[in-house]
């Protein structure tokens, strides 16, 4: 399934709002392997780049090409937001929601929800309202809901930004499991520790543009640009 979507090619991709360019022009090529981390300081355009690739931010210039038809590519994607959005329903109903949208039979959807709840450690909370879960539990629910349709690609926008160490570790565990199962993950973060732990490829953004990109090991050991080196060292980069 992964090879159907990739390579993803962004050529001069831009998005603007009220005449102000938010991101771009971006030239980037992503293959279908591993976990790509988009890093950069606040306001660098990480979230907007993810939304642009996902198709929820308007492309105002340039082009974004998937290996398949854009609508088909969109069908095989999911998005996890920084602040988890949960439906005002139970945990189980949240998990079955994307499946029911795809007309999966109710019994099959429920079975799948139970399996995923077990995988992410929410099986005891299936009948609870999603709104009463902790932040970490809500984010795990949002990730499980994104993965339940077995998408080829999942975008994660700073999924652990407001979580403690334990919840972060649990979520990274879920993500590494998804990666091992062949799901391509593109994750934005400004947590350098997390980027080092999970990244296979890094896209470093600054001022709405892709400043540097490359394999994670090479990037963290020997970044090409002084801004990237400064960011890795924890200096303030603007």
């Amino acid at each position: 399934m992964v090879t159907e979507l990739f390579p993803l090619i962004l050529a001069g991709a831009e998005t603007s709002r009220r005449g102000k360019r938010l991101v771009g022009p971006v030239d980037l090529s992503l293959d279908g392997q591993g976990l790509c981390v988009v890093i950069g300081p606040n306001g660098a355009g990480k979230t907007t780049l993810l939304r642009l690739m996902h198709g929820t931010a308007r492309l105002t210039a340039g082009r974004i090409n998937w290996a398949c038809d854009t609508a088909e590519a969109r069908h095989h994607q999911a998005f996890v937001f920084q602040r988890p959005i949960v439906l005002r329903r139970t945990v189980e109903e949240n998990l079955t929601y994307p499946l029911r949208l795809r007309r999966v039979a109710k019994a099959v959807a429920r079975r799948s929800a139970q399996e995923w709840a077990e995988r992410v450690g929410l099986s005891d909370l299936l009948c609870h309202r999603a709104g009463v879960l902790s932040g970490g539990e809500q984010q795990k629910l949002a990730i499980a809901r994104a993965l339940i349709t077995e998408p080829a690609l999942v975008f994660l926008d700073e999924p652990t930004a407001s979580l403690d160490g334990r919840a972060t570790r649990e979520i990274e565990g879920i993500l590494s499991h998804a990666k091992a199962n062949g799901t391509r993950l593109i994750l934005s973060t400004h947590d350098m520790g997390q980027a080092r732990r999970v990244a296979d490829k890094v896209v470093f953004m600054l001022g709405g543009k892709v400043h540097e990109t490359g394999p994670a090991t090479a990037f963290f050991e020997d970044a090409a640009t002084p801004e990237a080196r400064a960011f890795i060292n924890g200096d303030i980069v603007e």
């Binding site: 929820t56 998005f79 937001f81 309202r129």
Partner: protein, 227 residues
């Protein structure tokens, strides 16, 4: 006052018939109004179109629609020389239902829209990312906001059951045909039969409270363990 209580306790057949007619007219109007108003409010929440703000503003303004004027307009439409005169609906419960629907649709739609707009702001990113259709968005919002929509429906019921001006005009307050609690109260007050009017008033209040409580109970509102 004592006489009024006595009349309520003895609750004769005619009183029961009037009370049941009131309920039947208002509940029918409420169901029809909900069928119109709820999808409309959901559409206004999720769909962006050129005159959307104007439609919302007009809908809000129509909440204050004077019932007597509604009654007059419905009367003109349904009267023998009116465009719908051939239907012969004037001075029937159906005419009263039509008038009530016109009065309560803007109220239900406006209150529902407020709730659905807030919920849409909460769900927007998720539903867009899930690439759901317009119909699925509306269905999701209507289902997840059902408790708030119940409140909107109850507000509509309250307005309908207590309405007198419009249904007096289009119903004519005909005994055994179109007389409902509010028009009977107006009639008995005019005749100086205050005890009977007060008794009818007590029944009206009891009906309004009863239906509200029933709907809250059926809808399981305020129960923590469920949405």
């Amino acid at each position: 006052m004592r006489h009024a209580f006595w009349l309520v306790v003895t609750f004769d057949a005619e009183l029961a018939e009037i009370a049941l007619r009131s309920l039947r007219v208002t509940l029918t109007a409420l169901v029809i109004a909900c069928i119109i108003a709820l999808p409309l409010s959901a559409l206004l929440a999720v769909r962006r179109f050129r005159w959307r703000r104007s439609v919302i503003a007009i809908l809000n303004a129509l909440m204050g629609l004077p019932p007597v004027v509604v009654g007059l307009i419905v009367y003109i439409f349904l009267s023998r020389s009116g465009p719908l005169g051939a239907l012969g609906l004037l001075f029937t419960p159906t005419a009263m239902i039509v008038a009530q629907v016109i009065i309560i649709v803007p109220l239900i739609a406006s209150i529902a829209h407020q709730s659905l707009r807030d919920l849409w702001a909460e769900y927007h990113d998720l539903l867009i990312s899930l690439n759901v259709s317009q119909f699925q968005k509306m269905r999701t919002l209507l289902w997840d906001a059902r408790r708030a929509l119940l409140t909107a429906a109850l507000a509509g019921f309250g307005r309908g059951i207590g309405e007198v001006g419009a249904i007096m005009i289009v119903g004519g307050n005909i005994d055994n045909a179109t007389r409902v609690l509010t028009t009977a109260i107006a009639l008995e007050t005019g005749k100086g039969e205050f005890a009977l009017a007060l008794a009818l008033g007590f029944i009206l209040i009891a009906l309004a409270l009863g239906v509200n409580l029933l709907i809250h109970w059926v809808g399981q509102t305020e129960r923590d363990s469920r949405w």
